[in-house]
């Protein structure tokens, strides 16, 4: 009889452990990228074996990462984004979840993001201006990219890309909530599609940051 325990439900893992799971997948991605030039020079059987091994690691990371979030967590994150609460940890969990679900980029570290957001003091008159401040703070957190936690590892171009990617989960959290979790997660997918369709406007607003709040409000209202 097989006595091995099954994989734990990632929803109940502690924040750093979820980051480890993300790292497992990310490390395999990075290794595969880094190995690409060398792979071509290897004999075919070795190429295949190496590729299979890396894919197995990625799949393992991905299976651990099949997590979700619950309605109260989404509501708490929405309140944080709009300036109505201090629950940075839950907001970080929900944002990292959205990052993975929408496949917005390389890696997201909940731990780094939560720590950065907890120290962020954003005081604004309106929910959308507060959301804009949080969005900028998230992009400056070094929580996203190939090496989360490493200061300035993505450079200016990388920061702009991360900032643009984070618009989708931000407008999702600013928008009116759906009645069921299923519908709310579907709304997140729509936020991704809407942001993508408004990509040029998003990039223009990011260049002039005082336009960011009004754009977030407009997109959230039309979601």
């Amino acid at each position: 009889m097989d006595q091995r325990p099954g994989l734990p439900d990632p929803s109940f893992l502690k924040m750093p452990l979820r980051d480890v799971a993300r790292g497992l997948k990310g490390a395999a991605d990075l290794t595969q990228d880094a190995m690409a030039p060398v792979m071509a020079t290897l004999p075919a059987p070795l190429q295949s074996a190496l590729s299979d091994a890396l894919n197995a690691i990625k799949l393992q990371g991905k299976s651990v990462l099949t997590l979700t979030v619950q309605t109260p967590e989404i509501e708490a994150a929405a309140q944080f984004i709009a300036g109505g609460s201090n629950d940075a940890a839950t907001c970080a969990k929900v944002i990292a979840f959205a990052w993975d679900r929408l496949n917005l980029g390389d890696l997201a570290s909940e731990t780094v993001l939560a720590s950065h957001l907890a120290q962020t003091k954003a005081e604004s008159a309106s929910p959308e201006m507060h959301a804009a401040s949080v969005l900028l703070a998230m992009a400056d957190s070094n929580a996203f990219g190939k090496l989360p936690g490493v200061l300035g590892h993505e450079g200016e171009a990388g920061r702009a890309q991360i900032l643009a990617a984070l618009v989708a989960p931000t407008i999702w959290l600013l928008a009116e909530r759906e009645e069921t979790l299923k519908d709310d997660l579907h709304l997140l997918d729509l936020a991704g599609a809407l942001t993508k369709a408004f990509q040029s406007d998003v990039r223009a607003a990011l260049a002039e940051e005082d336009k960011l709040g009004p754009l977030l409000k407009m997109l959230a209202q039309h979601l």
């Binding site: 729509l190 599609a193 993508k196 369709a197 406007d201 407009m218 209202q221 039309h222 979601l223």
Partner: protein, 205 residues
Amino acid sequence: MTSVDPQNAPVRKSAQRMRWFLSVFEDQVTQMEEDTGNRFETDRGVLAAVFAEWLKAFEAQKPQKQDDKETYVGFAAGLMLRSLVKHKPLRITSRPEDADDSNPAYFWPEGYAYVAFCLNVRGLVLTQDFGSVQQTNKSLEDVRTWWSFRENVTERPDLALSFLDLFAGDDPNWDAPQLFRSGQAKKLANQFYDAKQLAEPKQNQ
């Protein structure tokens, strides 16, 4: 034509939300399938792009004057039809064996579904938000008009606005349909008033 459930209110504001648009469009397609026997495949990614393009166009010419708001409903519906015929989110996968091609619903099933959606939303907003009733034109059932509609909008999508006005019984602008004409509501009201003034003396004679 298949109708949109009038329980979804307030319509004018709801129609500017992506979640409402996708849900109502898909409901409309389902009803259209039941009514006609046609079967469609919907590309949700393309549909999202349609909404985004429409929203930009809608915001770009949104009138400030209260008098223009009602006229803008028809214009906005035309903008939506333009995006739908341009991006083609629907693809017909099957239709009844005995489908009559002289019926617009079978002559151009996708186009018919787009027009039905735009007219239904237009009618719903006019009724619920402005207390007006949309009157459709006989050309809506005329396959020759549909042939012209399909040919013209393929070459020039802006003409979708003119054709929707035609189908809705309004006066189409064929020259620059993509530009909203402010003051049209007043002009139409004046025309009606003048005509009434001319008619009344004859009745008194």
